[in-house]
């Protein structure tokens, strides 16, 4: 079965540094998402992306966050100036069409901000 690929699996960074989390969605999928899970808490929606623009974002997704699909293959999440509370597991997901409810998730990137 096709997979959503996320790199790196673990990322350690210093507070205030910029990080870019990378995702390669399934090739014929059109809808892309980022979710995150802080240890012991719920998996939270961050942002959805369709047709090269953000379709919805949560309150968590403030000006420090941005997403990009630079080359038709990768889908990236950038955090400009990381904070300690950004430490979490970040999941990328993709979906084929608007009528298809099945989301395919990547295995996640564990971000640790020190």
């Amino acid at each position: 079965e096709p997979e959503v690929t996320q790199t790196p699996s673990h990322q350690v960074t210093q507070m205030g540094q910029e990080v870019i989390l990378r995702c390669v969605p399934i090739s014929n999928h059109l809808y892309f998402y980022w979710y995150r899970q802080i240890l012991g808490q719920k998996v939270e929606f961050l942002v959805s992306f369709y047709n090269n623009e953000i379709s919805e974002k949560s309150e968590i997704f403030d000006d420090q966050f941005s997403v990009e699909r630079p080359d038709g293959s990768n889908f990236t999440l950038k955090i400009r100036s990381t904070k300690l509370e950004d430490s979490a597991m970040y999941f990328c997901a993709s979906r084929k069409t608007g009528g298809d409810e099945k989301l395919f998730f990547g295995s996640g990137t564990q971000l640790s901000v020190l």
Binding site: E3, G40, V43, E101
Partner: protein
């Protein structure tokens, strides 16, 4: 606002015993309900879903869940678990409107012991 509650953070069970993982949701509109499973070091995978029709839905590996509107529940059950079922299980809700995001619970770790 929609929300999902998974009361049990961890459920230990012996192999071949039955198990029920509880999920309650809150929503004022029609809902789609999902169970996702996360095996160690892997991404979230769709286990089963309720969109409409029969309130009892089944997965290919023996799990089933029943949508109960009066009790606002979507509990996951399996009559006989295997060691390989050890994983984190997430209940999620999505409304039937324009938004595409999933609202997840905090997850339940199913720990199957020999």
């Amino acid at each position: 606002a929609q929300s999902v509650t998974q009361l049990d953070s961890q459920v230990p069970v012996f192999e071949e015993a039955p198990v029920e993982l509880r999920c309650n949701y809150s929503s004022s509109v029609s809902v789609y309900l999902f169970w996702y499973v996360q095996y160690p070091n892997q991404g979230l995978q769709l286990l089963l879903k309720y969109l409409s029709g029969s309130t009892l839905v089944e997965s290919i590996n023996g799990f089933e869940a029943e949508f109960n509107k009066s009790q606002t529940s979507f509990h996951l059950r399996k009559p006989s678990v295997h060691i390989s079922d050890t994983a984190e299980y997430f209940c999620a809700v999505k409304n039937g409107g324009a938004t595409n995001k999933l609202i997840f619970g905090t997850g339940t770790l199913l720990a199957v012991q020999p």
